[in-house]
C-alpha cells in the first residue's frame, strides 16, 4: 500500500500529471525512443506475468518464453493461414498458451525448487527446437512466419510505433491494475503463503498443487496475450525470439526488480531494456557489461531493487469469538 504521508489531493494530482505525461510521450519522443518504450512495455507485462509464478508463488520457472511463443505463433498462424486479424486472435492466443501450460505443468507441478527450474528450461528448449523443425508444418521452420495482413482495431489501422505505444501501455495499465487487485485477493494471499512455506499452507487447508497450477496457467495466459501483441508489432515471429536466453531475461527482470513486487518488476523491465541502450556506444561490450551488472546488483541488493513490502492485515474483526478480555489486552495501541 502507498504510505499515507502525502495528502490525497497531491497524490491524485501527481497521478494525473504522470498519466498525462505518459499520453504525451510518443509525441515528444521520436519513433526510435517510442519503439524502445514499446519493448519496455512488453517486457513489463511479461515480467508481471512471470511475477505471478515466480514472485508470488515462489516457483522457479525459467521457461516463460515457451508460453510467450505459443501466444505469438497462434496469432501469426491464424493471421497467415486464415487471415484472422491479428489482434482479434488475442483471446485465443491467451487460451492456447494457458492450455499448453496446463498440459505441461500438470505432471511437473510437484517438483521441488531446482528440479522445476531445470525442467522448465527443458520445456523452453523443446519448444524452440519444435519451432525450428517446423512442427505440424505450421511454424515455418527457423525463418519463422511473416505477417502481411494489416493490423487494425475497430477499423483503426495500427502500424506506427505511437499506435503500438497506446495499445501496449494501456494493456500494461490494465495488467498492473488487475494484478494489484489479485495480489491482495484470497488467491494472492494463498500464493504468498505457498511461497513462504508450502507445507504449512497445505496443512492449513490450501490445495497447493491446485493453486500452483492456477498460478502457472494465469501467468501463461498473460504471456500468450502479450505474445499476440508482440507478433503484431514485430511482423515476423521466428524461434530466435523465444530462446532460453530470452527466458533468462524475464527471470532477471523479476529477481533484479524484486520478486513479488509490482513496482519492482516494472523497474526491472525498465532497467533490463534500458541498460543495453545506455551501453550502446560500446556495442560489443554490451552483454559483457550487462552480465557483470547482474552479478554486482545481486551482491549489493540480493532482495531486489524494490522488494515487496511487509503485508499487514487487520484481523481484529475476525477475532470476535475470542473472550473479550484476551482480545483487548493483546491489542496494541496504534
Amino acid at each position: 500500500m502507498i504510505p499515507p504521508r502525502l495528502p490525497k489531493s497531491a497524490l491524485r494530482a501527481a497521478m494525473v500529471m504522470a498519466g498525462a505525461g505518459m499520453l504525451a510521450l510518443p509525441h515528444l519522443l521520436g519513433p526510435y525512443w517510442t519503439n524502445l518504450l514499446n519493448d519496455m512495455g512488453i517486457y513489463a507485462i511479461l515480467g508481471l506475468s512471470l511475477n505471478i509464478i515466480l514472485g508470488h508463488c515462489g516457483l522457479f520457472h525459467m521457461g516463460h518464453a515457451a508460453f510467450y511463443a505459443v501466444g505469438a505463433y497462434t496469432a501469426a498462424i491464424l493471421s497467415t493461414r486464415f487471415s484472422v486479424p491479428i489482434l482479434w486472435s488475442m483471446p485465443l492466443s491467451g487460451c492456447l498458451a494457458g492450455l499448453f501450460a496446463l498440459a505441461v505443468a500438470r505432471p511437473i507441478i510437484h517438483l521441488r525448487g531446482d528440479y522445476l527450474l531445470v525442467v522448465t528450461i527443458g520445456i523452453v528448449e523443446i519448444v524452440r527446437i519444435a519451432l525450428v523443425n517446423n512442427i505440424f508444418g505450421l511454424t515455418g521452420g527457423s525463418n519463422g512466419l511473416l505477417i502481411t495482413e494489416p493490423i487494425s482495431i475497430f477499423g483503426y489501422e495500427i502500424f506506427r510505433p505511437a499506435h503500438f505505444y497506446y495499445l501496449i501501455w494501456s494493456m500494461a495499465a490494465l495488467t498492473i491494475l488487475l494484478f494489484y487487485m489479485l495480489q491482495n485477493s484470497r488467491f494472492g494471499r494463498a500464493l504468498n503463503y505457498i511461497k513462504q512455506d508450502d507445507l504449512a499452507a497445505e496443512g492449513s487447508g490450501i490445495n497447493t498443487a491446485h493453486y500452483k497450477l492456477a498460478a502457472f496457467v494465469l501467468g501463461a495466459v498473460w504471456a500468450g496475450l502479450i505474445g499476440a501483441v508482440f507478433a503484431a508489432k514485430i511482423e515476423t515471429v521466428s524461434p530466435q525470439s523465444f530462446s532460453f536466453s530470452e527466458s533468462v531475461l524475464y527471470f532477471a527482470i523479476v529477481i533484479l526488480g524484486g520478486a513479488g513486487s509490482i513496482p519492482g518488476v516494472l523497474l526491472g523491465a525498465f532497467l533490463i531494456t534500458g541498460l543495453p541502450e545506455i551501453f550502446r556506444e560500446w556495442q560489443h561490450y554490451r552483454l559483457f557489461l550487462f552480465g557483470a551488472a547482474m552479478v554486482i546488483m545481486m551482491i549489493f541488493r540480493p532482495q531486489g531493487l524494490i522488494p515487496p513490502g511487509r503485508r499487514h492485515y487487520n484481523v481484529w474483526p475476525y477475532l470476535g469469538s475470542f473472550p473479550r478480555g484476551v482480545a483487548s489486552r493483546n491489542r496494541e495501541p496504534r
Binding site: P107, G113, I129, F288, V295, I299
Partner: protein, 301 residues
C-alpha cells in the same frame, strides 16, 4: 547391428564429455545447493585456452604432439581450476547468506559475462583446432571402423572419473568434501574448514570441465564461444538424471545421456537431437523425481 554399435561408441565418447562436465555441476550442487550456471562457460574457456596453447606450443615443434597434448591438458586443468576459484570468490561467496534466487541470478550473470568475454577475445566465429594434432587413424575391429580419437577420448574421460572417484572416497580431503556435502554445520563442528572445501570443489569441478572442453575440441575439431550453454544444460540434465549431488550418478547420467542422444539422432531424427536430452529428463523426473541414483532425503516435515 554394426550401425547400432557404431552409434553406441559415438554415444559413449560424447557421454564421457557430458559426464565430466556433469561432475562439476553435481559437486557444486552437493556442497552449496547452487546450480553453477557459469560452469558451461568454464568448459568453453578450457576449450579455447587449450586451442591457444596447442597452437603456440605444439606447432612450434618443441614437444612431440602426444606429449604436448598431455602436458597441455594438465595445464588446462590447472587454469580452469584457477578460474573456477576466482568465480566462486567474486560471484558466489558474497551471496552465501542471501536467498537462493539471488545466487541463481548471479550465476546467470557470470555466465553471460564469461561467454561474452570469450567472444570478445576470440571472435564470434567457429575456431578450428590445429588439424596436425588430431589423430585421423581409425581402428578396425570385426568390421567396425572406430576412430582412434573416440577411443582415446572415452579412455581419457574414464581415467579422469576414476581418479576423481578415488580422490573423493579414499583420501582425507575427499572425506571432508563428502562431509561438507552431507551437513555443513556438523562438518564445521568437526573442525573442517568449510570455506576451503568449497573453494576446492570450485577448483575440481571446473578443472574437469576445462579438460572436457579440450577433449571436445580435439574430438570435433571446431569450437564456438556459445557452445557452453547447450553442453552445460545437457550436462546438468545428466547430473539430474543420475541424482544431483551424487558423483557416480553424474557419471552414469552423462554416459546414458550421450548414448540416448546418439541413438535417438540416428534412428528417430537428427533434427530433434537436442530435444531428446530434455525429453529424457522430463520423463525421468516425472517418474523418479530425485533421479536414478537419487538422494532419498525426506523433505522437511
Amino acid at each position: 547391428m554394426l550401425e547400432l554399435i557404431q552409434q553406441l561408441t559415438n554415444g559413449l565418447a560424447v557421454g564421457g564429455i557430458y559426464a565430466l562436465i556433469a561432475l562439476g555441476y553435481t559437486m557444486v550442487y552437493g556442497v552449496l545447493k547452487l546450480i553453477n550456471f557459469a560452469h558451461g562457460e568454464l568448459f568453453t574457456l578450457g576449450s579455447y585456452l587449450g586451442m591457444s596453447l596447442l597452437v603456440s606450443f605444439a606447432l612450434a615443434g618443441r614437444l612431440s604432439p602426444p606429449l604436448a597434448v598431455l602436458v597441455i591438458i594438465v595445464l588446462i586443468i590447472g587454469l580452469s581450476a584457477l578460474s573456477g576459484f576466482l568465480l566462486e570468490r567474486v560471484a558466489y561467496r558474497p551471496l552465501r547468506q542471501s536467498n537462493r534466487l539471488a545466487a541463481v541470478v548471479s550465476a546467470l550473470g557470470a555466465s553471460i559475462f564469461l561467454q561474452n568475454a570469450i567472444m570478445l577475445i576470440y571472435g564470434p566465429n567457429y575456431q578450428v583446432y590445429p588439424s596436425q594434432i588430431r589423430l585421423t587413424i581409425a581402428v578396425s575391429l570385426w568390421g567396425l571402423n572406430i576412430p582412434m580419437m573416440r577411443i582415446l577420448l572415452f579412455a581419457a574421460s574414464v581415467m579422469l572419473m576414476i581418479a576423481l572417484y578415488l580422490f573423493i572416497n579414499k583420501t582425507k580431503t575427499g572425506t571432508s568434501i563428502r562431509a561438507v556435502a552431507t551437513d555443513q554445520g556438523a562438518a564445521k563442528l568437526m573442525g573442517i574448514d568449510v570455506n576451503r572445501v568449497i573453494s576446492l570443489v570450485f577448483m575440481i569441478g571446473p578443472g574437469l570441465g576445462g579438460a572436457a572442453g579440450m577433449l571436445l575440441g580435439l574430438y570435433y575439431g571446431q569450437i564456438r564461444y556459445d557452445m557452453g550453454t547447450l553442453y552445460g544444460l545437457k550436462a546438468f540434465t545428466a547430473a539430474i538424471i543420475g541424482g544431483i549431488g551424487n558423483i557416480p550418478g553424474a557419471m552414469l547420467g552423462g554416459i546414458l545421456l550421450g548414448v540416448a542422444e546418439a541413438i535417438g539422432a540416428a534412428y528417430i531424427s537428427p533434427a530433434w537431437k537436442d530435444a531428446f536430452a530434455f525429453l529424457v529428463l522430463i520423463i525421468i523426473l516425472i517418474f523418479r523425481p530425485t533421479g536414478l541414483l537419487g538422494e532419498r532425503a525426506a523433505d522437511k516435515i
